[in-house]
Subunit: 443 residues, 2 copies
Amino acid sequence: MIQILCPKYLVPVRPLGQVLEQYSVAIDPASGRIMDVLPRVDAMEKHVGASVFEMETHVLLPGLVNMHTHSPMTLLRGYADDLRLDDWLRNHIWPAEANWADGDFVDLGTELAVAEMLRSGTTCFNENYFFPERMADVVEAAGIRACIGVPVIGVETKWAATTEEYLAKGLELVASRAGYPRLRFSIAPHAMYTVDVATLARIADLSERHDMPVHLHLLETESEIRNSQQAYGKMPLHHAEELGLLNERLIAVHMAHLSDSDIDLVARNNVNVVHCPQSNLKLASGVCRLTDLLAAGVNVSIGTDGAASNNDLDMFDELRTAALLAKGLSGDPCVVDAVTALDLVTINAARALGMEHEIGSVEVGKQADLCALDLACARTQPVHHVISQLVYSAASGQVSDVWVAGRQLVKSGELTLMDEARILSEAAAWAVGKLPETHQVRE
Amino acid sequence: MIQILCPKYLVPVRPLGQVLEQYSVAIDPASGRIMDVLPRVDAMEKHVGASVFEMETHVLLPGLVNMHTHSPMTLLRGYADDLRLDDWLRNHIWPAEANWADGDFVDLGTELAVAEMLRSGTTCFNENYFFPERMADVVEAAGIRACIGVPVIGVETKWAATTEEYLAKGLELVASRAGYPRLRFSIAPHAMYTVDVATLARIADLSERHDMPVHLHLLETESEIRNSQQAYGKMPLHHAEELGLLNERLIAVHMAHLSDSDIDLVARNNVNVVHCPQSNLKLASGVCRLTDLLAAGVNVSIGTDGAASNNDLDMFDELRTAALLAKGLSGDPCVVDAVTALDLVTINAARALGMEHEIGSVEVGKQADLCALDLACARTQPVHHVISQLVYSAASGQVSDVWVAGRQLVKSGELTLMDEARILSEAAAWAVGKLPETHQVRE
């Protein structure tokens, strides 16, 4: 049956800055796509007998896209905070992962992450972690959309031993899931310093031949730049350029250390940049020059990073941090205005994934990936500007309803497909005894 | 009847960093004070017949203190964003206030603010706006705690015409409300550049004689410093020192432009600093040197500022921004750790208000100003470190229960005393037609 969603306000993201009042969105049940965006009264006349979903105090907008996640790391949320990046990684996160990051860990951690993302209005995520086939299964079952990275790293894990094996297992997975409607794949080499040169070159080639995005941590820290100078006598970005990685398929994450000429290089090569403001602040890695990248015409989107360095997957919160930080650091409160900010988590992310014709805005023919927030809360009243309210005031806890490909995955604040009580209880049980020596609980 | 609160975790803030499991807090109904903090089993034995409130998946902590608010400005939330400070103030906020900021505006805006604050775990706020007697009435009725500023500004408003009149009306109010248990007062000169020198000197004297805090915007912007140099040939901080304002009664808000010697001066004089990270970022005013101030031993707390420049009154969000920003800007992820961060919104704020023996921690004899968050949500599971979870993961929407002076003002997510539906509906109605020319709603 055709569904008609009737919010108070509709923010379609395209046309830019538009806010529609008393408009409805009609969804085709067969394709999960948007059939119509039209005034409520016209929708009711045209689609007599459709299923009508009323949202009298709500704003409906495209589902948000989280452009950088390590979903299973939700299980390590708050496990090790307030530490230097190298101490955090080498003495806490990597040992924990070496001990525990098996297939079951990935199942449970991904379920927990997807529950958190759906509840906070995220309908698609760009992922990089081990056991991608397990994550793909969770995505299939949970009804969310994702671009799953084929992880490649020159370190043995429970999933694979060599870069050869990572790639072989990953490409087999990609082939086996071809045509799954809510699943895409990228190749996700960890970083320029953890994958050998020959493998990076091969990834550049595979990316071109299979038209797959490359999801890469790049220019996250100063030490990455120093090490690249020492190892290769060149900057990581130039190294990536030589290897054929700098192009419109690259999703370059962090980019927290950019010179002016780097920004030119990134812009000329149509590289997609993912800004992770909270993770970069928390680990004191550096700050991505969002304002300058946007001024140079670079396609920038936003990611939370894993929950071990954020420590949540809340894109409304991340969006607000990105906008406020850009203003504060540039000294100009006019930059990254609310309308621009909303693009970062919707249409820009869709473009980075090569999916700008499928998701990222509420337009006829696109997938019905949508989220609704209830504005009838003290923190979002009164409403002078709807888009300002979304960017500067709304909390993800106000997300009431979420659809992916036309299927309602959150209804009046409750998950419809996932067994959240089981997931929370398993996550709590998993953590017991994992951190006895430093647990803050005393007495 | 004695109340016994039984959370899963108790974070008393003092002793520093402590997390207690299966502990209970007993509240004396006559005084609203904490009678006991003891293991749950002992509490049940000692207080047979008491009213027991179970919170099986919750953490209980002191209510948060918002150290800088202009509560009625909730009605201007999102009214004018993405603008330069002078444009924002002179062309939008001040004209709007001149038109509308009367007693009824203050009533409704304060109610809306208090509803938002209570729902997000704030139990006390440090306020500065016009019509303080109307705000005091709302505070009385709503059951929250506040320190209300006597506003003084060399600009005529609907409340008073001259600094003389501001002070006279304010001091009359203070005298008339002496002994009201949840109300304190400060003198709140707007800024060094909007109040004349003679009045500032008089305020310094009144503050000493009446032992009242002085709540002052200080060093918010670079232009404030330039203008002070031009007008007085000295920096605002030195000017304040000469006028006798730099002492332990001063609550200096923003402080976004501090030199090393300024920090020494502030530390030597025991000035209390209030950091407003989101407002300062959003208006691109500058950034308070939180890490350096703490290292110098300065008592720093946190405020949201008004909702027109934030755009919410969410202290959990503000706290996280303060901690992340300090790490990012200092380049050191170890600074402002979770335990330190929690102090900023609790015991440090209590100290700034001269109330460190009354509120700010869960200790026997203190007021029972408490908030509980339900951790059984995807974004706060699993729990490795309770305090990390509060600072880096929790959302204010998880606040389930709030007490002020032992009275439960939020119960299972609902306000017990305030008529929230009426307040939201009146706030929505108030905004209608206020912004016709620039409203983003199109079509």
